[in-house]
């Protein structure tokens, strides 16, 4: 057992999808939405959310569409639909709210706040500035289209992968997230898996992995960051890690397109900064709030 069980669990219907919500803190306190990353779920905040709630906030952590207990999606091109979910969730909770996002969820937090600055007071982005520049290098279109169509066909026509035991899923995940403490890997798997006939499978919708080539590139990502107008705190870990592959110079170049951002590097952390160094992240957020929303 790691962290603290949520005080409340519920579902809300927004934007045609049923979202699972996990909550900590008093219901009438100002709301902070915590958004998990790709393939994760709201229970990844079990350690950090209670700390934020103790500052006097209602912390609401959704399972994004296609993740955890929330509804399905049609493809991995769910960036805008998921941002709309967050905008409507903010309306549901009573705007303006604040938003903290990790990784993919950090990008979602920036985008939702860019679209609806009247709904989001500030953003904390935890290692969610996007992939390194080399990830945007142009691929051969024939090769990319061929692979993407084959992948879509595979997802559409083959049964989901089943693992014999949950331990097999933990082992699989440990190979990717090498810095995550073992008890956290187990926690993320326990809440991210479901038992099925013949074993266990991920709750995450396999259609999240379906995508096709398009023009989205670094220039688009930078343009998306440039329209953010609310205060932003960007946190990155000092340690190299899976999904934390940008150099310091690349991070600074990315941040140059986020004019409202402050940046802080957290020592002793890789990608899951708030799990590895919760006290340091909490202190950074407290200082940020004191500065932008006293």
């Amino acid at each position: 057992m790691v962290g603290v069980e949520p005080a409340r669990a519920s579902f809300v219907e927004v934007n045609r999808v049923r979202l699972r919500l996990w909550e900590w803190g008093e219901e009438d306190a100002p709301a902070i939405v915590c958004v998990h990353g790709a393939h994760d779920h709201g229970r990844m905040w079990d350690g950090f959310a209670p700390l934020v709630a103790q500052l006097g906030y209602r912390v609401v952590a959704p399972d994004l569409r296609g993740h955890g207990d929330s509804g399905r999606l049609s493809s991995g091109a769910m960036w805008m639909a998921s941002a709309l979910d967050l905008g409507l969730l903010a309306r549901h909770l009573g705007p303006p709210v604040a938003i903290i996002g990790h990784s993919f969820g950090g990008g979602q937090a920036l985008y939702a706040a860019a679209v609806w600055p009247e709904l989001f007071r500030w953003v904390v982005n935890i290692d969610g500035l996007g992939p390194p520049p080399e990830a945007f290098e142009e691929r051969d279109l024939v090769e990319a289209a061929t692979a993407s169509v084959a992948n879509a066909l595979r997802v559409l026509t083959t049964p989901r992968r089943t693992y014999p035991t949950m331990e097999d899923m933990v082992e699989r995940r440990q190979r990717v997230n090498v810095r995550l403490p073992a008890e956290w890997t187990e926690h993320l798997v326990r809440h991210g898996a479901k038992e099925t006939e013949g074993g266990w499978e991920w709750k995450a919708d396999p259609f999240f992995m379906v995508g096709f080539p398009g023009p989205f590139d670094l220039e688009f990502m930078e343009a998306e960051h440039e329209i953010v107008t609310v205060p932003v705190l960007a946190l990155t870990g000092a340690e190299h890690d899976t999904w934390s592959e940008m150099t310091a110079e690349q991070t600074e170049a990315r941040l140059a397109h986020l004019p409202t951002a402050r940046h802080q590097v957290i020592e002793g952390a890789g990608h899951y900064i708030h799990i590895e160094q919760p006290a340091a992240v909490l202190a950074a957020i407290e200082s940020f709030i004191a500065e932008v929303a006293p």
Binding site: R16, D140, V210
Partner: protein
């Protein structure tokens, strides 16, 4: 249209109607039948149109049409030639993916070049405006109807709008193309011609004065069947 080979009356024809077209695939199915075409036709009502329910999650992505037809194309007989794929409006991009991905013997792009061109900043701002319109339209975010045109589709997503990407697609396309530009085209004439030239396997251009839906369907069906007959 540039020569397509091998081609026979058994060549399947796939049609991806335009997003937001309330009549969905029906006009295409009817026009092909009326023209006497008895080869395989895959011209479905795409999700949220006609008889097809909205996609899982009720949101619309550019890849919806692909996900609708990829299994059907894969299920064609092993000895069937790869289909001619017609993509209308923003679904021209889907036809291009199938052409690039080895799943088409030719592509027909009906106002399908994905104009008007935008800078990345303009594209991002258009996306913001689109999301804000959706959020403020109760019908667009309420549960979708079981059939008929989903009111969410009253807010068209817009095309990719990326001129450089359009030229990359053209230059990489391994199969012949027919570019049909109607009176509603949003791509500059000069770029249409340049894009046709950029197709290494050849591309023809047909310009229609009209943007009237039935006339466009009839012209495109005639052009496609003429090509099939010629080869």
């Amino acid at each position: 249209m540039a020569p397509v080979s091998p081609m026979s009356p058994a060549t399947p024809i796939v049609v991806l109607h335009a997003p937001g077209d309330a009549r969905a695939g029906a006009p295409w199915r009817e026009a092909l039948a009326a023209a006497g075409w008895n080869g395989p036709v895959i011209a479905p009502d795409l999700p949220g149109h006609g008889s097809a329910p909205s996609p899982p999650g009720g949101s619309y992505e550019l890849g919806d049409a692909l996900l609708s037809v990829i299994p059907e194309i894969a299920a064609l007989a092993d000895d069937a030639p790869a289909p001619i794929v017609v993509g209308c409006g923003t679904n021209g991009w889907c036809a291009q993916i199938l052409g690039l991905g080895g799943r088409a013997s030719a592509v027909v792009l009906v106002d399908g070049l994905n104009g008007p061109w935008r800078t990345p900043r303009q594209a991002i701002e258009a996306g913001v405006e689109w999301l804000r319109r959706l959020a403020d339209d109760p019908d667009a975010i309420a549960p979708p109807p079981p059939a008929g045109l989903d009111p969410r589709l009253r807010h068209p997503m817009g095309g990719l709008g990326n001129r450089a990407y359009a030229f990359r697609c053209a230059a990489a396309m391994p199969v012949p193309a027919l570019i049909v530009e109607t009176g509603g085209s949003l791509v500059p004439d000069d770029d249409v011609d340049a894009l046709a030239v950029a197709h290494p396997a050849g591309a023809g251009v047909v310009r229609l004065e009209t943007a009237e839906a039935d006339e466009v369907v009839r012209h495109v069906v005639e052009s496609v069947l003429r090509t099939v007959a010629r080869t």
